[in-house]
Amino acid sequence: MSLAQAALIAVVVALAYLARRIGGDPGLERPIVLGPIVGLILGDLQTGIIVGGSLELVFIGASPIGGSVPPNVAIGAAIGTALAVGSGHGVQAALVAAIPAAVVGTFFELFAKTVCSFLVHRADRAAAEARGRSIMAVVWAGNAVHFLAYAIPTFLVLRFGGSAIQSLLSGLNEHVQAALNTAAALLPAVGFAILLSVLYNKMLFPLFFVGFAVAAYTDFSVIGIAMLATALVAVIMRRFSSSAAAPPPAPAVPAAPAEKDADSAPAPVTTRLV
């Protein structure tokens, strides 16, 4: 990989992650979007698309909810795609390289958010004197920290780490190839399980098996199940609201959030790590 390609990919990864901060969290860092872009930079769009789609399934449940720090999907996708294109060992090898890269990438995200915690105190001092410009400087310093925390490690791995992994992969025999295939097939299970644990609710959980049974025994696609479920939920919701007695008057300004069911997931708010 050339210097220019590595630098370009590093900037793209950092911008995709920065979009979460200053672009309204548009999902630009998802592997399905980033894979094709990285593929295009390296001159192999097709591999980029396929690797991106495969990685999307692995990380489908990886969202910054409820105290979990999700693997850094942007760094993982970029390095996985780069390796798939560069090594010629296909999607499976890419998936296996992307997981450790994404896990290590999490560290840099933690680092950026921690550095910004120190910056906030400068904003406090500026606010006490109503210096809006100084607070703006803090905001953009924070954004710059986030940008560099993703760009630098991505660049270093792409520029200097790629050849080491490639030489490791060059000695593949039949059994190792089978091992890679199996690991790649198994990994999306983690994505689906994380999604499940995010949505977990004791009372509603059996609905997971409804969705599974419909898909396993029929030709329903995921979108078909989504439509079916949405329609059923709409009916159930209407029935509940019409059979209920007069709804209790809502408080004008509730000081506390809505009461939660005992069995519902704990409120994720205070620990959100977006």
Binding site: G35, E129, A130, A183, A189, F208
Partner: protein, 279 residues
């Protein structure tokens, strides 16, 4: 939940109102700017409110107080910042006009009261339902090499997001502090539950359709070679994907870190594949 009620008399004409809603909506895109572990989205929220605060409080002392008021801890779902932005803008305006019932305390408590339930809705609706559904459908396209998967995912998500942002900011602005009279905690909880139900069913569908865990094992019965996978399929199609997912799910429920689960699955997959147990 569209709103047709006229805004309070203290509000400016509709052209300026529209401009303000537009500005709040676009500035809301940066709500996570300078995200930090101490106060989360506080810098972004201040950034969003700043033009309004500068306009309402020309005096230095009042402006400093307003800045500090919006630099406290804040955290919600980034897509659903709209209602909070709208309500807060209206409250700040009324406070600047010396409305009796609005003080600093009220503004803070309404912000806190809104951010938790909206985060709950956003997490189950966006992260738990919309994005996984769109991601799975588009990934199924992408793994066959179709670039449409990536394009539909990105632009579809963008369109949904902007729809939600404009509509909710406007709704929050126009309902002002009466927001909770219209959207009660019960309604918010119902939306959250509905999204969770759809999300769970979809997760079940994902496991059955997109997880390709199989076993290559065969055994000999007399002269017949029998594939274990065919036997399993006869009992329950997609039995292995279901078993693997539930196993990982149980580990996560037992508070094993997702990072270790991910790495563990990688290693287990490599080992089982090497020895031909799964494949």
């Amino acid at each position: 939940m569209s709103d047709t009620k006229a805004p309070p008399a203290s509000e400016p004409d509709t052209a300026e109102t529209r401009r303000e809603i537009r500005r709040l909506t676009f500035r809301g895109l940066l709500v996570q700017a300078g995200f930090n572990y101490e106060r989360y989205q506080n810098l972004g929220f201040w950034w969003m409110m700043r033009p309004l605060l500068d306009k309402l409080y020309p005096g230095k002392a009042e402006r400093a107080a307003a800045y500090q008021r919006h630099l406290v801890y804040f955290n919600t779902h980034p897509w659903l910042i709209g209602p909070i932005a709208g309500v807060t803008a209206v409250m700040e305006r009324q406070r600047a006009n010396r409305a009796e019932n609005i003080d600093d305390e009220t503004i803070s408590s309404v912000k806190i009261g809104l951010m938790a339930p909206l985060a709950g809705i956003g997490d189950s609706l966006v992260f738990g339902t919309l994005r996984p559904i769109l991601g799975a459908v588009c990934a199924a396209m992408a793994v066959t090499g179709n670039v449409a998967g990536a394009l539909i995912f990105f632009f579809g998500l963008l369109a949904i997001q902007f729809g939600i942002r404009f509509w909710t900011t406007s709704a929050g602005y126009h309902t002002g502090v009466r927001f909770f009279d219209r959207i009660s905690p019960e309604t918010i909880d119902r939306i959250r539950r509905g999204a969770t139900m759809v999300g769970l069913a979809v997760a079940g569908g994902l496991v059955a359709t997109l997880l390709k865990v199989q076993t290559p094992w065969t055994y000999t019965n007399g002269h017949q070679k029998i594939k274990l996978q065919d036997q399993l399929d006869a009992v329950l199609p997609a039995m292995l994907p279901l078993a693997v997912t539930l196993l990982v799910f149980v580990l996560l429920r037992r508070r094993v870190s997702p990072v270790w689960v991910l790495l563990g699955t990688l290693v287990v997959g490599l080992v089982l594949g090497y020895f031909g147990v799964l494949g």
